[in-house]
Amino acid sequence: MDKNTWPYASYPEGFNKLLNKIMPLWARPMKKIMGPLLIKILIDG
Protein backbone atom coordinates (compact mmCIF):
# COMPACT_ATOMS: atom_id res chain seq x y z
CA MET A 1 0.00 0.00 0.00
CA ASP A 2 1.03 3.63 -0.37
CA LYS A 3 -0.50 7.05 0.26
CA ASN A 4 -2.64 6.68 -2.87
CA THR A 5 -4.06 3.29 -1.98
CA TRP A 6 -4.15 3.33 1.85
CA PRO A 7 -7.72 4.33 2.75
CA TYR A 8 -6.62 6.32 5.84
CA ALA A 9 -3.76 8.31 4.33
CA SER A 10 -5.37 11.76 4.27
CA TYR A 11 -5.80 14.14 7.18
CA PRO A 12 -8.28 14.75 8.63
CA GLU A 13 -10.63 12.59 6.53
CA GLY A 14 -8.61 9.38 6.42
CA PHE A 15 -7.43 9.75 10.00
CA ASN A 16 -11.00 10.20 11.26
CA LYS A 17 -12.10 7.18 9.23
CA LEU A 18 -9.41 5.12 10.96
CA LEU A 19 -10.37 6.47 14.38
CA ASN A 20 -13.99 5.44 13.74
CA LYS A 21 -12.73 1.91 13.08
CA ILE A 22 -10.60 1.66 16.22
CA MET A 23 -12.37 3.86 18.77
CA PRO A 24 -15.26 2.46 20.79
CA LEU A 25 -18.50 4.47 20.52
CA TRP A 26 -18.20 5.90 24.01
CA ALA A 27 -14.80 7.47 23.20
CA ARG A 28 -15.76 9.12 19.89
CA PRO A 29 -16.89 12.45 21.41
CA MET A 30 -13.28 12.88 22.55
CA LYS A 31 -11.87 12.35 19.06
CA LYS A 32 -10.84 15.97 18.60
CA ILE A 33 -8.62 15.95 21.70
CA MET A 34 -7.41 12.37 21.76
CA GLY A 35 -6.68 12.06 18.05
CA PRO A 36 -4.00 14.79 17.84
CA LEU A 37 -2.45 13.63 21.12
CA LEU A 38 -2.09 10.11 19.73
CA ILE A 39 -0.37 11.50 16.63
CA LYS A 40 2.00 13.47 18.88
CA ILE A 41 2.92 10.34 20.86
CA LEU A 42 3.74 8.45 17.66
CA ILE A 43 5.68 11.26 15.98
CA ASP A 44 7.68 12.37 19.05
CA GLY A 45 8.20 8.88 20.45
Binding site: M1, D2, K3, T5, W6, A9, S10, Y11, P12, G14, F15, L18, K21, I22, M23, A27, I33, M34, G35, P36, L37, L38, I39, K40, I41, L42, I43, D44, G45
Partner: protein, 398 residues
Protein backbone atom coordinates in the same frame (compact mmCIF):
# COMPACT_ATOMS: atom_id res chain seq x y z
CA UNK B 1 7.68 16.56 58.28
CA UNK B 2 6.37 19.18 60.73
CA UNK B 3 3.62 18.04 63.12
CA UNK B 4 1.29 20.78 61.86
CA UNK B 5 1.60 19.38 58.32
CA UNK B 6 1.25 15.75 59.44
CA UNK B 7 -2.10 16.72 60.95
CA UNK B 8 -3.39 18.22 57.69
CA UNK B 9 -5.80 16.34 55.45
CA UNK B 10 -4.52 15.86 51.87
CA UNK B 11 -6.58 18.71 50.38
CA UNK B 12 -5.42 21.07 53.12
CA UNK B 13 -1.79 19.96 52.70
CA UNK B 14 -1.99 20.55 48.96
CA UNK B 15 -3.26 24.10 49.50
CA UNK B 16 -0.59 24.74 52.12
CA UNK B 17 2.16 23.52 49.82
CA UNK B 18 0.94 25.76 46.99
CA UNK B 19 1.09 28.68 49.45
CA UNK B 20 4.70 27.80 50.34
CA UNK B 21 5.65 27.94 46.64
CA UNK B 22 3.68 31.11 46.01
CA UNK B 23 5.11 32.87 49.07
CA UNK B 24 8.66 32.00 48.05
CA UNK B 25 8.26 33.15 44.45
CA UNK B 26 6.56 36.38 45.63
CA UNK B 27 9.46 37.14 47.98
CA UNK B 28 7.26 36.68 51.00
CA UNK B 29 9.07 34.78 53.72
CA UNK B 30 7.46 31.31 53.75
CA UNK B 31 7.04 29.18 56.91
CA UNK B 32 9.70 26.90 55.49
CA UNK B 33 11.39 26.37 52.13
CA UNK B 34 9.46 24.18 49.70
CA UNK B 35 11.14 21.31 47.86
CA UNK B 36 10.42 20.89 44.14
CA UNK B 37 11.37 17.26 43.52
CA UNK B 38 13.25 17.08 40.22
CA UNK B 39 13.37 13.31 40.44
CA UNK B 40 12.64 11.21 37.39
CA UNK B 41 13.86 7.66 36.72
CA UNK B 42 16.22 7.52 39.74
CA UNK B 43 13.25 6.55 41.87
CA UNK B 44 12.87 3.35 39.82
CA UNK B 45 16.29 2.17 41.00
CA UNK B 46 15.60 3.32 44.53
CA UNK B 47 12.49 1.13 44.59
CA UNK B 48 14.59 -1.91 43.61
CA UNK B 49 13.61 -2.12 39.95
CA UNK B 50 15.38 -1.54 36.65
CA UNK B 51 14.24 0.93 33.99
CA UNK B 52 12.92 -1.73 31.62
CA UNK B 53 10.88 -3.32 34.42
CA UNK B 54 9.12 -0.05 35.23
CA UNK B 55 8.57 1.84 31.98
CA UNK B 56 6.42 -0.86 30.40
CA UNK B 57 4.51 -1.90 33.50
CA UNK B 58 2.09 0.60 35.05
CA UNK B 59 1.69 -1.48 38.24
CA UNK B 60 5.44 -1.39 38.84
CA UNK B 61 5.59 2.33 38.06
CA UNK B 62 2.76 3.05 40.50
CA UNK B 63 4.59 1.05 43.18
CA UNK B 64 7.77 3.06 42.42
CA UNK B 65 5.99 6.40 42.84
CA UNK B 66 4.14 5.35 46.00
CA UNK B 67 7.37 4.01 47.60
CA UNK B 68 9.06 7.30 46.75
CA UNK B 69 6.31 9.43 48.26
CA UNK B 70 6.22 7.23 51.38
CA UNK B 71 9.97 7.61 51.88
CA UNK B 72 10.81 11.18 50.89
CA UNK B 73 8.67 14.09 52.09
CA UNK B 74 8.55 16.30 49.01
CA UNK B 75 6.27 19.18 48.04
CA UNK B 76 5.99 18.69 44.26
CA UNK B 77 7.23 15.86 42.07
CA UNK B 78 8.12 16.69 38.48
CA UNK B 79 7.50 13.16 37.24
CA UNK B 80 4.72 11.03 38.72
CA UNK B 81 5.48 8.10 36.43
CA UNK B 82 3.47 9.34 33.46
CA UNK B 83 6.36 10.31 31.14
CA UNK B 84 5.98 6.80 29.95
CA UNK B 85 4.39 6.11 26.62
CA UNK B 86 6.40 3.07 25.59
CA UNK B 87 3.48 0.66 25.63
CA UNK B 88 1.71 2.82 23.04
CA UNK B 89 4.72 3.14 20.76
CA UNK B 90 5.63 -0.53 21.11
CA UNK B 91 2.09 -1.59 20.23
CA UNK B 92 2.62 0.38 17.04
CA UNK B 93 5.90 -1.43 16.41
CA UNK B 94 8.36 1.46 16.74
CA UNK B 95 11.41 -0.78 16.64
CA UNK B 96 14.59 1.00 15.61
CA UNK B 97 12.56 3.84 14.06
CA UNK B 98 11.68 5.19 17.50
CA UNK B 99 13.62 8.15 18.88
CA UNK B 100 13.60 6.90 22.46
CA UNK B 101 15.48 3.89 23.74
CA UNK B 102 15.75 2.15 27.06
CA UNK B 103 17.44 -0.74 28.77
CA UNK B 104 17.94 -1.78 32.40
CA UNK B 105 19.88 1.36 33.34
CA UNK B 106 18.97 4.12 30.94
CA UNK B 107 16.15 5.88 29.12
CA UNK B 108 17.49 8.11 26.40
CA UNK B 109 16.55 9.97 23.26
CA UNK B 110 18.54 10.18 20.04
CA UNK B 111 19.00 13.50 18.27
CA UNK B 112 16.39 13.37 15.52
CA UNK B 113 14.69 15.48 12.89
CA UNK B 114 11.36 14.94 11.22
CA UNK B 115 10.91 18.13 9.29
CA UNK B 116 13.31 19.54 6.69
CA UNK B 117 14.00 23.29 6.96
CA UNK B 118 12.22 24.00 3.65
CA UNK B 119 9.00 22.42 4.96
CA UNK B 120 8.77 24.18 8.34
CA UNK B 121 6.04 26.54 7.10
CA UNK B 122 4.06 23.58 5.79
CA UNK B 123 4.41 22.00 9.24
CA UNK B 124 3.15 25.02 11.17
CA UNK B 125 0.25 25.47 8.72
CA UNK B 126 -1.26 22.22 10.04
CA UNK B 127 0.90 20.21 12.44
CA UNK B 128 -1.29 17.13 12.64
CA UNK B 129 -1.77 17.01 8.87
CA UNK B 130 2.00 17.25 8.33
CA UNK B 131 2.67 14.54 10.90
CA UNK B 132 0.01 12.19 9.49
CA UNK B 133 0.64 12.69 5.78
CA UNK B 134 4.40 13.39 5.69
CA UNK B 135 6.40 12.76 8.86
CA UNK B 136 4.90 9.47 10.07
CA UNK B 137 5.12 7.69 6.69
CA UNK B 138 8.76 8.86 6.42
CA UNK B 139 9.57 7.78 9.97
CA UNK B 140 8.00 4.34 9.49
CA UNK B 141 8.67 2.71 6.09
CA UNK B 142 5.84 0.25 6.82
CA UNK B 143 3.34 2.95 7.91
CA UNK B 144 0.84 2.10 5.17
CA UNK B 145 1.15 -1.62 5.94
CA UNK B 146 -0.02 -1.33 9.56
CA UNK B 147 -3.19 -3.37 9.96
CA UNK B 148 -6.37 -2.13 11.58
CA UNK B 149 -5.74 -4.72 14.33
CA UNK B 150 -2.38 -3.06 15.06
CA UNK B 151 -4.12 0.31 15.32
CA UNK B 152 -6.76 -1.21 17.62
CA UNK B 153 -3.96 -2.45 19.91
CA UNK B 154 -2.34 0.99 19.82
CA UNK B 155 -5.66 2.52 20.85
CA UNK B 156 -6.07 0.03 23.73
CA UNK B 157 -2.60 0.88 25.07
CA UNK B 158 -3.31 4.57 24.61
CA UNK B 159 -6.47 4.36 26.71
CA UNK B 160 -4.60 2.41 29.38
CA UNK B 161 -1.99 5.18 29.39
CA UNK B 162 -4.63 7.91 29.73
CA UNK B 163 -6.29 6.01 32.60
CA UNK B 164 -2.86 5.64 34.24
CA UNK B 165 -2.41 9.43 34.11
CA UNK B 166 -5.73 9.90 35.94
CA UNK B 167 -4.80 7.21 38.46
CA UNK B 168 -1.43 8.75 39.25
CA UNK B 169 -3.01 12.20 39.66
CA UNK B 170 -5.35 10.60 42.19
CA UNK B 171 -2.36 8.99 44.00
CA UNK B 172 -0.68 12.39 44.25
CA UNK B 173 -3.88 13.93 45.60
CA UNK B 174 -3.86 11.34 48.43
CA UNK B 175 -0.35 12.51 49.37
CA UNK B 176 -1.37 16.16 49.30
CA UNK B 177 0.90 16.82 46.35
CA UNK B 178 -0.10 19.79 44.22
CA UNK B 179 0.46 20.09 40.47
CA UNK B 180 3.42 22.19 39.46
CA UNK B 181 1.68 24.20 36.74
CA UNK B 182 -1.48 24.09 34.60
CA UNK B 183 0.08 22.98 31.31
CA UNK B 184 0.38 19.20 31.13
CA UNK B 185 0.44 16.52 28.42
CA UNK B 186 -3.35 16.58 28.12
CA UNK B 187 -3.62 20.36 27.81
CA UNK B 188 -0.37 20.84 25.94
CA UNK B 189 2.77 22.55 27.15
CA UNK B 190 3.81 26.09 26.30
CA UNK B 191 6.56 25.83 23.76
CA UNK B 192 8.38 28.10 21.34
CA UNK B 193 9.30 27.51 17.73
CA UNK B 194 13.01 27.36 18.39
CA UNK B 195 12.51 24.81 21.19
CA UNK B 196 10.33 22.59 19.01
CA UNK B 197 12.97 22.96 16.30
CA UNK B 198 15.81 21.78 18.52
CA UNK B 199 13.95 18.92 20.23
CA UNK B 200 11.90 17.44 17.40
CA UNK B 201 11.68 19.17 14.03
CA UNK B 202 15.33 19.74 13.16
CA UNK B 203 17.29 18.35 16.10
CA UNK B 204 20.50 19.82 17.48
CA UNK B 205 22.61 19.02 14.43
CA UNK B 206 20.24 20.29 11.73
CA UNK B 207 19.31 23.37 13.73
CA UNK B 208 22.98 24.26 14.18
CA UNK B 209 23.43 24.03 10.41
CA UNK B 210 20.20 25.92 9.68
CA UNK B 211 21.24 28.79 11.97
CA UNK B 212 24.13 29.44 9.58
CA UNK B 213 22.57 28.56 6.23
CA UNK B 214 18.82 29.12 6.59
CA UNK B 215 18.38 31.96 9.08
CA UNK B 216 15.66 33.66 7.02
CA UNK B 217 13.61 30.46 6.76
CA UNK B 218 13.95 29.91 10.51
CA UNK B 219 12.85 33.48 11.18
CA UNK B 220 9.81 33.07 8.95
CA UNK B 221 8.93 29.84 10.75
CA UNK B 222 9.31 31.44 14.20
CA UNK B 223 7.09 34.36 13.13
CA UNK B 224 4.41 31.97 11.87
CA UNK B 225 4.61 29.93 15.09
CA UNK B 226 4.23 33.08 17.15
CA UNK B 227 1.08 34.07 15.29
CA UNK B 228 -0.50 30.63 15.51
CA UNK B 229 0.69 29.25 18.85
CA UNK B 230 2.03 31.93 21.19
CA UNK B 231 -0.19 34.96 20.52
CA UNK B 232 -3.39 33.07 21.51
CA UNK B 233 -1.70 32.11 24.81
CA UNK B 234 -0.67 35.73 25.40
CA UNK B 235 -4.23 36.88 24.70
CA UNK B 236 -5.60 34.26 27.09
CA UNK B 237 -3.20 35.36 29.85
CA UNK B 238 -4.10 39.03 29.35
CA UNK B 239 -7.83 38.21 29.61
CA UNK B 240 -7.36 36.06 32.75
CA UNK B 241 -8.08 37.15 36.31
CA UNK B 242 -5.33 39.08 38.04
CA UNK B 243 -3.12 37.17 40.44
CA UNK B 244 -1.68 33.67 40.75
CA UNK B 245 -3.84 30.61 40.12
CA UNK B 246 -3.70 29.08 43.59
CA UNK B 247 -4.57 25.59 42.29
CA UNK B 248 -0.96 25.36 41.09
CA UNK B 249 2.52 26.12 42.39
CA UNK B 250 3.30 28.20 39.28
CA UNK B 251 1.17 29.73 36.55
CA UNK B 252 3.06 28.02 33.71
CA UNK B 253 6.02 25.76 33.12
CA UNK B 254 8.46 26.51 30.33
CA UNK B 255 11.68 24.82 29.31
CA UNK B 256 14.54 26.79 27.78
CA UNK B 257 17.22 24.68 26.09
CA UNK B 258 18.06 26.23 22.73
CA UNK B 259 19.71 29.31 24.26
CA UNK B 260 22.74 27.06 24.75
CA UNK B 261 23.46 27.04 21.01
CA UNK B 262 22.25 30.51 20.03
CA UNK B 263 24.47 33.58 19.78
CA UNK B 264 23.08 36.90 21.08
CA UNK B 265 21.64 38.00 17.70
CA UNK B 266 20.02 34.59 17.13
CA UNK B 267 18.62 34.60 20.66
CA UNK B 268 17.10 38.05 20.18
CA UNK B 269 15.60 37.40 16.75
CA UNK B 270 14.52 33.77 17.08
CA UNK B 271 13.55 33.55 20.74
CA UNK B 272 13.47 36.68 22.88
CA UNK B 273 11.14 38.68 20.64
CA UNK B 274 8.48 35.98 21.19
CA UNK B 275 9.30 34.99 24.77
CA UNK B 276 9.38 38.53 26.16
CA UNK B 277 5.74 39.41 25.32
CA UNK B 278 4.54 36.20 26.97
CA UNK B 279 6.57 36.85 30.12
CA UNK B 280 5.38 40.47 30.16
CA UNK B 281 1.78 39.22 29.93
CA UNK B 282 2.33 37.07 33.02
CA UNK B 283 3.94 40.00 34.81
CA UNK B 284 1.05 42.33 33.88
CA UNK B 285 -1.46 39.89 35.34
CA UNK B 286 0.48 39.27 38.56
CA UNK B 287 1.39 35.72 37.63
CA UNK B 288 4.62 33.76 37.87
CA UNK B 289 5.85 31.09 35.43
CA UNK B 290 8.57 28.59 36.25
CA UNK B 291 11.28 28.43 33.59
CA UNK B 292 13.58 25.40 33.62
CA UNK B 293 16.75 26.96 32.21
CA UNK B 294 18.47 23.82 30.98
CA UNK B 295 22.20 24.13 30.49
CA UNK B 296 22.90 27.76 31.33
CA UNK B 297 21.01 31.04 31.11
CA UNK B 298 23.92 33.12 32.40
CA UNK B 299 24.77 34.70 29.02
CA UNK B 300 21.31 36.20 28.70
CA UNK B 301 20.54 37.38 32.24
CA UNK B 302 20.53 41.02 31.10
CA UNK B 303 17.23 40.33 29.28
CA UNK B 304 15.46 39.56 32.55
CA UNK B 305 16.63 42.39 34.81
CA UNK B 306 13.56 44.60 34.30
CA UNK B 307 10.95 42.10 35.39
CA UNK B 308 9.18 42.82 38.67
CA UNK B 309 10.02 40.71 41.68
CA UNK B 310 7.50 37.90 41.89
CA UNK B 311 6.96 37.57 38.14
CA UNK B 312 9.66 35.02 37.29
CA UNK B 313 11.17 31.86 38.78
CA UNK B 314 14.20 30.18 37.21
CA UNK B 315 14.87 26.52 37.81
CA UNK B 316 18.63 26.40 37.37
CA UNK B 317 20.66 23.54 35.97
CA UNK B 318 24.32 24.46 35.43
CA UNK B 319 24.23 28.10 36.58
CA UNK B 320 25.58 28.91 40.04
CA UNK B 321 22.59 30.02 42.16
CA UNK B 322 24.60 32.69 44.00
CA UNK B 323 25.80 34.18 40.73
CA UNK B 324 22.27 34.26 39.35
CA UNK B 325 21.02 35.85 42.59
CA UNK B 326 23.58 38.60 42.20
CA UNK B 327 22.80 39.14 38.51
CA UNK B 328 19.02 38.81 38.92
CA UNK B 329 17.94 39.81 42.43
CA UNK B 330 14.40 40.11 41.04
CA UNK B 331 14.08 36.46 39.92
CA UNK B 332 13.18 33.65 42.32
CA UNK B 333 15.54 30.71 42.16
CA UNK B 334 14.62 27.03 42.13
CA UNK B 335 17.47 24.56 42.49
CA UNK B 336 20.76 24.43 44.37
CA UNK B 337 21.21 20.70 44.98
CA UNK B 338 23.72 19.10 42.64
CA UNK B 339 24.05 15.46 41.62
CA UNK B 340 27.71 15.80 42.56
CA UNK B 341 26.64 16.47 46.15
CA UNK B 342 23.70 14.06 46.31
CA UNK B 343 25.61 11.24 44.68
CA UNK B 344 28.93 11.54 46.48
CA UNK B 345 28.74 13.44 49.75
CA UNK B 346 27.60 12.28 53.17
CA UNK B 347 24.10 12.99 54.56
CA UNK B 348 25.61 15.50 56.98
CA UNK B 349 27.38 17.36 54.16
CA UNK B 350 24.17 17.42 52.11
CA UNK B 351 22.18 18.86 55.01
CA UNK B 352 24.89 21.43 55.76
CA UNK B 353 24.88 22.60 52.13
CA UNK B 354 21.08 22.67 52.04
CA UNK B 355 21.05 24.86 55.16
CA UNK B 356 23.58 27.20 53.53
CA UNK B 357 21.39 27.48 50.40
CA UNK B 358 18.31 28.24 52.47
CA UNK B 359 19.97 30.67 54.89
CA UNK B 360 21.79 32.62 52.19
CA UNK B 361 19.27 32.55 49.34
CA UNK B 362 15.87 31.92 50.89
CA UNK B 363 15.54 33.46 54.34
CA UNK B 364 13.49 36.37 52.93
CA UNK B 365 11.73 34.43 50.19
CA UNK B 366 12.88 34.06 46.58
CA UNK B 367 14.18 30.50 46.87
CA UNK B 368 12.77 27.02 46.36
CA UNK B 369 14.96 23.96 46.86
CA UNK B 370 15.37 21.51 44.01
CA UNK B 371 17.84 19.26 42.27
CA UNK B 372 19.70 20.88 39.36
CA UNK B 373 19.44 17.85 37.10
CA UNK B 374 16.48 15.54 36.61
CA UNK B 375 17.67 12.68 38.82
CA UNK B 376 17.73 9.87 36.28
CA UNK B 377 20.67 7.52 36.76
CA UNK B 378 21.40 5.07 39.53
CA UNK B 379 24.38 7.02 40.87
CA UNK B 380 22.80 10.48 40.64
CA UNK B 381 21.86 10.29 44.28
CA UNK B 382 22.30 8.21 47.40
CA UNK B 383 19.05 7.35 49.11
CA UNK B 384 20.32 8.37 52.56
CA UNK B 385 21.35 11.78 51.22
CA UNK B 386 17.98 12.57 49.69
CA UNK B 387 16.23 11.31 52.83
CA UNK B 388 18.35 13.55 55.02
CA UNK B 389 17.75 16.61 52.81
CA UNK B 390 14.00 15.96 52.58
CA UNK B 391 13.70 15.54 56.35
CA UNK B 392 15.71 18.67 56.97
CA UNK B 393 13.96 21.00 54.53
CA UNK B 394 10.51 19.77 55.56
CA UNK B 395 11.18 20.68 59.20
CA UNK B 396 13.53 23.71 59.03
CA UNK B 397 11.37 26.70 59.91
CA UNK B 398 12.48 30.13 58.76
Amino acid sequence: MREVEKAMKPKELRKYRVKLFRDAQSWVKPDRISHYGNIVTWKIFDAGYTIDQAVTNFDVMEEVVVKFLDTYPIDVLIDIGIRNQFNVTEAFGMGENGYYYYDAEVVGINDHAYCPVDRLLEYIEDKEKFAWEVALPEKFPDFYEKSVDTWKNVWKEYIKYIMFIFKMNSVCNKYGLPSGAPNNPMKGTINFAIEEAITNLLGIRNLSIALRRNFDELKEFCDAWHEKETKPIIDKVLKSDYGPDMKYCFDASLIMLSQNILNPKQFDELYWCYLEPLLKAYETKGKCPRIFTEGKIGSFVDHFTDFKKGSLAFHLENDNPWEIREALPNVAIIGGLTTQLLGNASPEECVEYTKKLIDELGSDGGFILSEDKMLSYRNDCKSENLKAVCEFVSTYEL
